[in-house]
Symmetry: C2
Subunit: 371 residues, 2 copies
Amino acid sequence: MSSAALSLARRITSITAHLQSGMARPKVVVTRNLGAEAMRLLDRSDLDVVAWHSETQPCDKKWLYDNIPGATGILLLFSEKVDQEFLDAAGPTLKVVSTMSVGYEHIDVKALAQRGIKLGYTPDVLTEAVADITVMLALMAGRNVKETTTIVQNGQWSAYPWAPYLFCGSQLSANWLQPTRTAGFLGFGRIAQSTLARLLPFGFTRALYTGNPSSQPKPARDAEMHAKYASQGLAEFRRVDIAELARESDVVFVLAPGEPSTYHVVNEEFLRAMKKTAVLVNTSRGSLVDSEALAKACREGWISGAGVDVVEGEPHVPADHPLVKEPRCVVLPHIGSATNETRLGMGTMAINNVIAGVLGGNMPAELNMSR
Amino acid sequence: MSSAALSLARRITSITAHLQSGMARPKVVVTRNLGAEAMRLLDRSDLDVVAWHSETQPCDKKWLYDNIPGATGILLLFSEKVDQEFLDAAGPTLKVVSTMSVGYEHIDVKALAQRGIKLGYTPDVLTEAVADITVMLALMAGRNVKETTTIVQNGQWSAYPWAPYLFCGSQLSANWLQPTRTAGFLGFGRIAQSTLARLLPFGFTRALYTGNPSSQPKPARDAEMHAKYASQGLAEFRRVDIAELARESDVVFVLAPGEPSTYHVVNEEFLRAMKKTAVLVNTSRGSLVDSEALAKACREGWISGAGVDVVEGEPHVPADHPLVKEPRCVVLPHIGSATNETRLGMGTMAINNVIAGVLGGNMPAELNMSR
């Protein structure tokens, strides 16, 4: 061959290799625009990324099922349901599903395990944001925030002259009448631990928790907790049964997973056993709390108030929902992890999970499906 | 005298002494019903107590001026104004005025001093309740609570499908993007100190404060603060000028007294210098903050949000007040100390102040008027 022909042949080979490598780039489907700052991480030459355009609107099902066939990785949110139909549509190329969430109720984990598909999720990164809102709701629940902000918003402040007990609620922090305070945790995982750390300077000296009744006691962990916070005033850290938790706590924090065994664990019996000055906070899952019973407890003064970031049946919570109507119950629309910093962290982790799962690296957070 | 006559004479003497002691009992006027639990403390044979009947309504002026003449002690609230006219009406018997408040803007302190009348007030007892609400407002200001609770109350939750940045605000606690947090205090007294203690587990490692420009630095106190909280992560505690405070803080806490030198110290210049992700909290006095400038700062995104328990001109704060209209500003109707525990503590202290001032004991909290 002439040198010119050789050069041409080399160029063609090179172009073909490039095309083949292009055709072989693993496909990653991303079902939401996660914002420019996060999406930039997916802008790489070794992946073929197909992403839904909108940040606020979920992708439509046609788009999803048009695009997932042949995907190696799929990054998705709560809005997408991963079941057998979904996995059949994606086909045998699928190696990893990455959800931008700490929960995975929308995913058939067993079906993934059977097909050898990895699952990435985003634990831990939202712990501090949720602990923040948990403490905020404990404060709001005791201090008549719902009633008083409504009065201000309606321009009625001047209609309420100062009076010794006007707008008074229960004090979260220790005080001259109650020199110690007791926190009660229904479930004691990472968010509970971060919440407890925040409560210590408020004068909480006792922390009680109930674990899953079928789980083993963890004396070593409990001793470690106690030792860690003893210098900041924690005098007692103890696992108790649910009746003692209800009876002894000045604040009950519902921080357990939403599953059949925890359904309505906060019911009328539990709420009737609580102190009249206590408050209840739920920042985990709505299904743990019987909404009707909680509304009644607030209305009839069994407890001082409540603050919930989650409600059973959400987001279908109408204006006449018993908790929404109840002046002593603050209801937030599941914004526990809703800070720019945390959501960007979750997006970044979900992206790094899908990239590592597809290219064969270590996923920052892979769910252990054998548990 | 016969023994019967002697006995009779003794009985008469005793009755006369009793009547004289009754007539000589010092008069204490109480301008509000402070609730059964507190009022019980005034139920004593050595005082002649005259109390207004209502807990919620201030006493009328006629009742007040009919009753204060000849009083030795007067227990009152913000609703009563103590000026020369008031003191002339009470007359030369008056030894003590006891206000159920930590502030005494309603009292002419100089006039009291000139007449040698003591002033009792109720400091400290409300510190923890106000620190609680200060932290609560710092959390609420960052987390879009006003907007999101309104959506829930209107039954609109289901109209907002989950999206990565829906309802997102600024995170108070340290996070992966911001591993340290800085608290800025405009004024560093007891409430500021209790607030700082509460912030440490949120990951605040720096505390800056500005003092009254005419006051001397307090290096010993500052070193003590730093040493006290160093083990809980406080790396820096420092007095700074107001420009540095605005520039460096992730949260600015307004906790200085309301007086001419602090009028509108938080103005447009201050707010423009703050971080876009920062929030402002005012739980001291409304006059320190320019409401128009703060509303503009929230509206135009100079800062992330604000939470105020006090507003200049309160309680005359109409529904169309710029801060009330502003979605990123939470406004509470001055409920900082409004817990049952703290208000009972304040009432008890005010009562013990007036009793001690009248009968000659040590007043639990007497204002030093020579300062």
